[in-house]
C-alpha cells in the first residue's frame, strides 16, 4: 500500500509490531517446547540449577520409563476405543439429525435446533454428581461404555450444528438431478451429497476426537475401582504423583499424550485457515 515510503523507515516503524509478534510466538511455543525438550534431556540435566534452553545430550530413557509404566498400553487402547466409538456414534446420529434440520420442513424444527444449541452449552461440570449416582444405580460405574455415551453426548450438539451447515451448503438440486436419474432419496444422498460432505465429516470428527481424547473429569470420577478401565488423561494426572520427582518421565508421558491431539490439529490447520479465509470472503 505505502510503497512510496523508504523501506528502512518502514522496517523501523514495523519493529515494535514484529517484536510483539515474536513475543506472542515465544509465549505460545515455550511451554510446549519445554515439555518436549525436558522429555529428551538426561535426568541430571533436568535436575540442575543451571537449565539450558537446548539439551546437551538427547535420551529416550524417559519415553521408555513412561511406556513401560503400568498399564500404559492398556490406557492408550481404552482412550482410543472410547474416543473413536464416541465420535462414530455422534457422527451417525448427528448426520440424521442434521439432514432432517437442513433439508426437511417439519413442526418442531426450530425447537429442536434451539435444544441442540442449549445442549451445546450444557453445564457438564455441574452434572458430575447426578451422572455418578445414576451410573452407580444402574451398575455402569467403572465401565468404558459409560464414558463412550457421555463423550457421545458432549460432542453430539457441536457435530449436529456443524454438519447442518455443511449439508445446507450442498445445493439440493444435485441430489434432485440424481433422483431424476433414478436414485432413491437415500441413494442420492449417499452417492452425491455424502462425498461432498467428506470435509465436513472430517473436520467435525477431528474436533470430536480432541474433545473426547482430552476429557478428564468424567473419566476421573466414573472409573474408580476398575483401574484397567482408566483412560490416558487420568493416567497422566496420577502419573505425576507416582513418578513425583521424575519430571523427565512425566514430560515424556505428557508428550505422548499430547501428540495425537497435536498431529490432528496440524492436519486440521488447513481447515482452520480455510475457515478463516471463507470468513474473510463472506464479509
Amino acid at each position: 500500500m505505502r510503497t512510496s515510503r523508504p523501506t528502512t523507515l518502514r522496517a523501523v516503524r514495523r519493529l515494535p509490531l514484529d517484536a510483539a509478534a515474536a513475543l506472542t510466538v515465544l509465549i505460545c511455543l515455550f511451554p510446549v517446547y519445554w515439555m518436549v525438550t525436558t522429555a529428551f534431556k538426561p535426568s541430571p540435566d533436568i535436575q540442575s540449577y543451571d537449565p539450558r534452553p537446548l539439551p546437551r545430550a538427547w535420551t529416550l530413557d524417559h519415553f521408555r520409563t513412561a511406556i513401560a509404566a503400568d498399564g500404559f498400553a492398556l490406557f492408550w487402547r481404552n482412550s482410543i476405543l472410547v474416543t473413536i466409538s464416541a465420535v462414530l456414534l455422534a457422527l451417525l446420529v448427528a448426520l440424521g439429525a442434521a439432514y432432517a434440520v437442513a433439508r426437511m420442513r417439519w413442526r418442531g424444527r426450530r425447537q429442536f435446533v434451539l435444544a441442540v444449541f442449549i445442549a451445546q452449552m450444557a453445564p457438564w461440570e455441574s452434572l458430575i454428581i447426578p451422572v455418578y449416582i445414576i451410573s452407580r444405580d444402574t451398575g455402569m460405574l467403572d465401565r468404558l461404555p459409560t464414558l463412550t455415551l457421555i463423550y457421545f453426548m458432549i460432542t453430539l450438539p457441536f457435530t449436529v450444528v456443524v454438519l447442518r451447515g455443511f449439508i445446507a451448503g450442498i445445493p439440493p438440486e444435485l441430489e434432485e438431478a440424481a433422483q431424476v436419474d433414478g436414485c432413491t432419496r437415500a441413494g442420492a444422498f449417499r452417492r452425491v451429497a455424502f462425498p461432498l460432505l467428506a470435509p465436513g465429516l472430517m473436520a467435525t470428527s477431528l474436533f470430536g476426537f480432541i474433545t473426547a481424547w482430552n476429557e478428564f473429569t468424567y473419566a476421573n470420577f466414573l472409573i474408580i475401582k476398575q483401574q484397567d478401565s482408566r483412560t490416558l488423561p487420568v493416567w497422566l494426572s496420577s502419573f505425576q504423583s507416582t513418578f513425583g520427582t521424575d519430571w523427565g518421565a512425566t514430560m515424556a508421558a505428557s508428550t505422548l499424550f499430547a501428540l495425537p491431539a497435536l498431529v490432528v490439529f496440524l492436519v486440521l490447520q488447513r481447515q482452520v485457515t480455510a475457515g478463516l479465509a471463507s470468513g474473510g470472503v463472506k464479509g
Binding site: I129, P233, A261, G280
Partner: protein, 326 residues
C-alpha cells in the same frame, strides 16, 4: 427404504424453488413420509433426554433431598424441601467460594479479552509469513490437551528445578530461589489464571482476527484522513463493527472460566487451603469427598442458575448473529 422412495417423488417437484427458511413450505401433512424427520432426530432427542435432561432433573431432585452415603447405598432418600439451599446460603464459607468464583472469572475474562484483542489487531497488521507463523502457534496452543498443559505448567513453576524460578533467580531476584508457587494461595491462584489465559487466548484471538479481516480497509483509511488516531479508529470504527463477535466470544469465555474445573483439580485440588476452590470444585469436593451429595447438588444447581444469566445473553447474541438460519 420404500418409504424413502414414496416420499421422494412428490418432494422432487416441490423443491424446484430454492428452499427459503422461515417461509413455511407445505408441511409433510398426514402422509407416512411426515414421520421421516422425526425418525431421523429420534436418536439425538433420546440421547439428550437420557444423558442431559434426566441427570439435570436428578440433580434438582437430589438437591431437595437428604442424600448422603447411606442414601446412596440404600436409596431411601427423603425430601427435606429447601434445607440444603438454606444450609448453603447460610454458610459464610460458601459465600467466600462464590466471591472467589466471581473474582476468578473477572480476572480471567478481562485478561483473555484484552490480550486476544491485542493479538488479533497485531496479527491483522503483520505480513503474510509472520501472520502464518503467529496463527500456527496459536492453533498449536489450542491443541495442547488440558491435562498435559496443566502438567507442563506444574513443571515450569516447579519450586526447585522449574525454569521460571531459575530465570527469576538468574535476573538477580534471589527471593525466588526455590519459591514454592503452589504452596501459597495467591500465587497458586495466579498460576491457574496464567494457565487458563494461555489456553484461552488462541480461540478468542483467532475468532476476533477472523472478524477483524471482514472490516473494510477503506473505513480505516477515511477515518485516518479525517485525522483520527489509532486508538480513536479502533474505538469508533473497528470495535463497533466487530462488536457482535466480541460479545459472543466474551460470553463464551465467561461461561468457560466459570466451569474451569480440570485445570484446578489437576493443579491444586482447590488448595492450598481453599485458595483456588471455585464453585464447580466446591460442589465436587462437597459431594464426592465429603459424601454430601445433597449439598453438592444444591451448589451445582446454584452454579447453573448463576451461569444461565450469562447464557441468556449469549443466546440473544447468537440468535441475532444467525437467527436467519434458524
Amino acid at each position: 427404504m420404500s418409504t424413502v422412495r414414496d416420499r421422494s417423488v412428490p418432494r422432487t417437484g416441490r423443491r424446484q424453488a430454492p428452499p427459503a427458511p422461515g417461509r413455511a413450505v407445505r408441511r409433510g401433512g398426514t402422509g407416512r413420509g411426515a414421520l421421516w424427520p422425526y425418525l431421523l432426530i429420534a436418536p439425538a432427542v433420546l440421547g439428550m433426554l437420557y444423558l442431559l435432561v434426566y441427570p439435570l432433573a436428578r440433580a434438582v431432585l437430589i438437591s431437595f433431598q437428604d442424600f448422603r452415603l447411606r442414601q446412596l447405598i440404600l436409596g431411601d432418600a427423603e425430601f427435606v424441601g429447601l434445607r440444603n439451599y438454606r444450609t448453603l446460603l447460610g454458610d459464610p464459607q460458601f459465600w467466600e467460594v462464590v466471591r472467589r468464583t466471581f473474582v476468578f472469572m473477572a480476572v480471567n475474562v478481562v485478561a483473555i479479552m484484552v490480550l486476544s484483542t491485542l493479538v488479533a489487531l497485531m496479527t491483522e497488521r503483520l505480513d503474510r509469513v509472520a501472520r502464518t507463523v503467529v496463527l500456527s502457534s496459536l492453533v498449536l496452543v489450542w491443541a495442547v490437551p488440558v491435562v498435559a498443559a496443566t502438567t507442563v505448567f506444574r513443571w515450569l513453576f516447579h519450586s526447585e528445578f522449574g525454569i521460571v524460578n531459575e530465570t527469576l533467580t538468574g535476573f538477580g531476584l534471589d527471593s525466588y530461589e526455590s519459591y514454592p508457587w503452589l504452596a501459597h494461595g495467591g500465587t497458586a491462584f495466579a498460576i491457574i489464571v496464567v494457565l487458563i489465559v494461555w489456553q484461552s487466548v488462541p480461540f478468542a484471538a483467532i475468532t476476533l482476527y477472523s472478524a477483524l479481516v471482514t472490516v473494510p480497509a477503506e473505513l480505516h483509511e477515511s477515518a485516518r484522513i479525517d485525522g483520527a488516531g489509532g486508538v480513536r479508529v479502533f474505538r469508533s470504527v473497528t470495535f463497533p463493527l466487530i462488536r457482535p463477535i466480541f460479545m459472543l466470544v466474551l460470553s463464551l469465555e465467561v461461561i468457560w472460566t466459570f466451569k474451569a474445573f480440570v485445570q484446578i483439580w489437576v493443579m491444586t485440588r482447590g488448595g492450598p487451603g481453599e485458595a483456588t476452590t471455585i464453585l464447580p470444585v466446591y460442589a465436587v469436593q462437597t459431594a464426592l469427598a465429603g459424601q454430601r451429595y445433597d449439598l453438592g447438588s444444591a451448589a451445582s444447581m446454584l452454579t447453573v442458575l448463576l451461569m444461565s444469566g450469562v447464557l441468556v445473553l449469549y443466546f440473544r447474541q447468537l440468535f441475532r448473529q444467525e437467527g436467519e438460519q434458524l
